[in-house]
């Protein structure tokens, strides 16, 4: 159809003797036909190819204190702040400064019908979140709404009821709803991070919220404990401890702190749970050689997974549990290899650099993060599972080690000495937005991000 109209146009224009303008007109007309098709596609808020390239400008004004009273007023401000910080943590959103808002904060419009969306589009806010807070005694009821301000559409509206003490959980639940809508994944808000905190010559295992809040010790062994690993249901933590004088494997049930110890001669280190199963891989040296074994969740050896003389350590599973990446020195320097569990074939993944260790398989399944030592410095890299498209994420920032992916594969936690003592940092999967997660006395290291199954 467009072709024939172009031809008729050309016939009309040619007698006038103007060939080039005619072509331009044709192209413009073609575009006219193409555009309406675009307008009918779903709006993509987040570009999955590089989601952090452009953050979505988002406005989170103070919530409306419906019940009145001072406590309600303080809570309205606090909930809005927590919501803003939680969204900012993901790296997808640019939270706009409230100073720039045009709307009157004293009488916030909450319902779509009352909102003057021009107040928000003028300052560039593409997303708007409004909330109400109704506090009666200990009970809190909050309504939260997410709007597309340019389309003037309500995207999600939810009401949460519970005790006031649960207000953070409510906010996190709503953020999960937002992420589910925008990305198809609930995000990281229900997850925790295990890590090691060192004080003097003692190292203990700790856990904290995904954003570094509420750190608490898990081990009190007054010894060296390291390499925590979460089971798929986040109910167990496996780790190595020198409590009995040598590096043994401990499997602790977090609910009642009961422990099973695997203390064969030699070492037991770097546990890695098989996704969806009560089994884990670990590196052990009781045979006189350093190999990776598969164990039950109770610590009984099922079979040996690596069969090569020389160091084999640091296993990490693909999300479907069918592939295992690990570190091996079989070619002369520490490199990362992948074993297919079904065919038992092993292939080498990393070929750049002479020291590649600490692999971590993304829960998305497509990439593996690891640390690489070059010129005496350690940096975090990622590479796809075929060994192509390597990406370097840190540079000239001290030593950066032990990467661990968030459960939705969007963020990476790691340890870094960029500020002097070793601390835990978080960055996006593309290496942007690098920031410190938390600060405790001494040094922190060995971060391990839990699956999303934890109860906050």
């Amino acid at each position: 159809m467009p072709l024939s109209s172009n031809r008729s146009f050309r016939r009309r224009i040619r007698p006038a003797g103007a060939g080039l303008p005619g072509w331009i007109l044709c192209v413009l007309l073609a575009l006219l036909f193409v555009q309406p098709v675009c307008a009918e596609e779903a709006v993509e808020y987040i570009d999955i190819r590089n989601p952090f390239l452009r953050k979505i400008p988002t406005a989170v004004p103070l919530f409306k204190n419906v019940s009145g009273g001072e406590r309600g007023g303080m809570l309205s401000r606090r909930l809005a702040d927590i919501l803003a910080q939680t969204l900012a943590f993901t790296g997808y959103f640019e939270i706009l400064d409230r100073q720039a808002f045009l709307a009157d904060p004293r009488n916030p419009a909450v319902l779509g019908a009352n909102i003057r969306f021009r107040n928000w589009t003028t300052i560039g806010a593409e997303l708007l979140i409004t909330g109400t807070v109704r506090l009666s005694g200990d009970m809190l009821e909050t309504e939260l709404r997410l709007f597309d301000s340019f389309k003037e559409d309500l995207i999600i509206g939810k009401r949460y009821k519970g005790v006031e003490a649960d207000h953070v959980r409510m906010i996190r639940r709503f953020c999960g709803d937002i992420m589910l809508h925008l990305t198809g994944d609930r995000g990281v808000f229900e997850s925790r991070i295990a890590f090691v905190s060192a004080s003097g010559d003692k190292k203990e295992i700790y856990t904290c919220d995904f954003d570094g809040g509420g750190p608490a010790a898990v081990t009190f062994k007054n010894s060296i404990s390291r390499y925590p690993a979460w089971s798929s249901d986040a109910a167990y933590l496996a780790f190595t401890s020198y409590q009995k004088g040598k590096p043994d494997l401990y499997i602790q049930r977090l609910a009642d702190k009961k422990e099973i110890v695997v203390d064969r001669r030699g070492f037991q280190i770097t546990p890695a749970w098989v996704p969806g199963k009560f089994q884990l891989a670990a590196a052990m040296s009781f045979s006189g050689d350093q190999e990776i074994y598969l164990l039950t969740g109770e610590g009984k050896i099922i079979n040996r997974l690596t069969k090569s003389r020389g160091i084999d350590v640091s296993p990490t599973w693909s999300p479907d549990g069918k592939l295992l990446a690990f570190v091996s020195r079989r070619s002369g320097t520490p490199q990362i290899y992948i074993k297919d569990m079904a065919s038992e074939r092993v292939r080498r993944l990393t070929f750049e650099g002479r020291y590649n260790t600490e692999p971590s398989w993304s829960p998305k399944g497509d990439r593996i993060a690891y640390s690489s030592q070059q010129d005496g410095r350690l940096d975090i890299h990622t590479i796809d599972v075929e060994g192509r498209n390597p990406m370097r994420l840190t540079q000239n920032q001290g030593d950066n080690e032990s990467p661990s992916w968030s459960p939705d594969g969007s963020l990476i936690a790691f340890s870094s000495t960029r500020e002097g003592p070793s601390r835990i940092y978080v960055m996006t999967a593309f290496g942007t937005d690098q920031r410190r997660l938390l600060t405790l006395p001494g040094e922190q290291m060995d971060p391990k991000w839990s699956p999303n199954a934890t109860e906050n």
Partner: protein, 218 residues
Amino acid sequence: MPKKMWMLLALLVIVPGLLLTTSCAKKVVQSEEAVEEVEAPEEAVVEEPAEEDTAAMEAARIAEEAAAQEEAARQWEMAAEEELEEQRLAEEAAKRAAEQRAAEAAKQMLETEDIYFEFDSAVLLPVARAVLDRKAKWLFQNWEESVIIEGHCDERGTAAYNIALGDRRAESVKNYLVDIGIDASRMTTISYGEERPVDPGHNEEAWAKNRRVHFVVE
């Protein structure tokens, strides 16, 4: 008048003299009795009392002297033997102390002489073999002792890999000793990776000191 004086004088001299001589005779009688108790020959007393008394006295005196001499000799011998014994004990103690010092020194050397490695390597260097031969000798001589063989790394590299590397170094040393003939059950390996450096420095000198295997007597 002078005659009376002379008579008085004579009396003065004679009477005490008589008194004295009689008392001496009494003493002789006592010693005779003593000798009789010990070993006085009866014949001497019976036949000629005056002459025999003197002879018996003489014999008794000789016997007594002999006995005393024997006793003295015996005492001296005992004293000499005691002193010898003391000397012997002192020598033995000194010898034992010296042996103990030597043993402590050998044990100390076993525990202070570490074996060093190159970066990312568990290969025994030539100088390490001499050190290990000394340790093997100690282990042969102290056949009832057991040792812990610790493997360590420098801070470079990553922690988990370094535990494996430390383990490899300790096993390397243990295998060498097993090959020499030390029973494997007497040696336990433990890897500390980079957790226990002896030198906290961040330079090649410190790192070289930390890449080591260390012995501890159990």
